[in-house]
Amino acid sequence: MASGGRSDVPDESLVKRARRGDAAAFETLVRRHYRAAYAVALAKLGNAMDAEDVCQEAFIRALERIDDPDPTRFVAWLLQIVRNRAHNYRAYKKVRETQPLETVSAASSDNPDRDAERAQLRTELETALEELSEIQRDVVLLHDLQGWKHREIAETLDISEGMSRQHLMGARRTLRERLGEQVFMEYSDD
């Protein structure tokens, strides 16, 4: 499974250490898998701030239950927790007391024009994402935001690689129609 963390230590070893309360190991897992978790949460909720809240809850929940999973399948298990949390998000906004991320997200800068422009683009992206089906959002966010390969997406979402490619094409087509070329950049596909 893809890993975006800064350490080469395998998930399996980090999970075993986190079970014993090793904060550094757990932090590495958070850094490594945050973006994948966020992509899944964003696909479900369509809102960046809500997705961040859900990710925080999901990581805490994952730590509480970290004795459960097969350590080699940690990321798939984590993303299932994110999905469940996102699904129930509206029913319980806050399950536990955590530092509200709104204050984190609302950081001000010295360039209000640029901030307004970025906020506008965020809103447009979120609105365009809402027009996609849930599976299309999952695929396009895991592929284009998280950077996973189709093989990894297929494995995690329990679909074929062909279907993953098909959903990605459909999602990009819709996003291009809605947003134009401004939100696309060249890259080499897998």
Binding site: G4, A18, R19, R20, G21, D22, A23, F26, E27, V30, R31, Y34, R35, Y38, L42, A48, E52, C55, Q56, F59, I60, L63, E64, R96, T98, Q99, L101, V104, S105, A107, R118, L121, R122, L125, E126, V140, L141, H143, D144, L145, M169, A171, R172, R173, L175, R176, Q182, V183, F184, M185, E186, Y187, D189
Partner: protein, 121 residues
């Protein structure tokens, strides 16, 4: 229709592109995770102490067991030897003299055998 292969630019929605913002997110998660991590460390330490006590205890118990088994085996074998010297022939009602001939593996003289049987009657 020709499909373009360009990646969607989600950087505006990606919380990890701004390092300062991402560090705050990680710090927030770690702060919320702190009580659970501490509890796990405590449990792990307590378990570790029990394990460290159990190792020498188990070794001592195993040693005691081996010594006890060896001692019992030694006592048993001595008891068996003594019993076989005194007992089985007499226990089934054989006259002592005959039992002695059996054990010594010597054939009795016919006269002695006659006398022994007569005495026993």
């Amino acid at each position: 229709m020709i499909e373009r292969n360009d990646r969607t630019d989600f950087r505006e929605l990606d919380p990890t592109t701004d390092p300062e913002h991402f560090e705050k997110i990680v710090a927030s998660i770690m702060a919320a995770a702190s009580p659970e991590l501490q509890a796990r460390r405590r449990r792990s330490n307590a378990l570790g102490q029990v394990v460290s006590w159990w190792r020498p205890l188990l070794a001592a118990a195993a040693l005691t067991g081996i010594v006890s088994v060896a001692a019992l085996a030694s006592v048993d074998s001595r008891a068996e030897t003594t019993e076989s010297q005194t007992g089985i022939a007499e226990a089934i009602g054989m006259p002592a003299q005959i039992a002695q001939w059996v054990r010594s593996d010597e054939a009795p003289d016919p006269a002695e055998l006659w006398l022994t049987l007569e005495d026993d009657r």
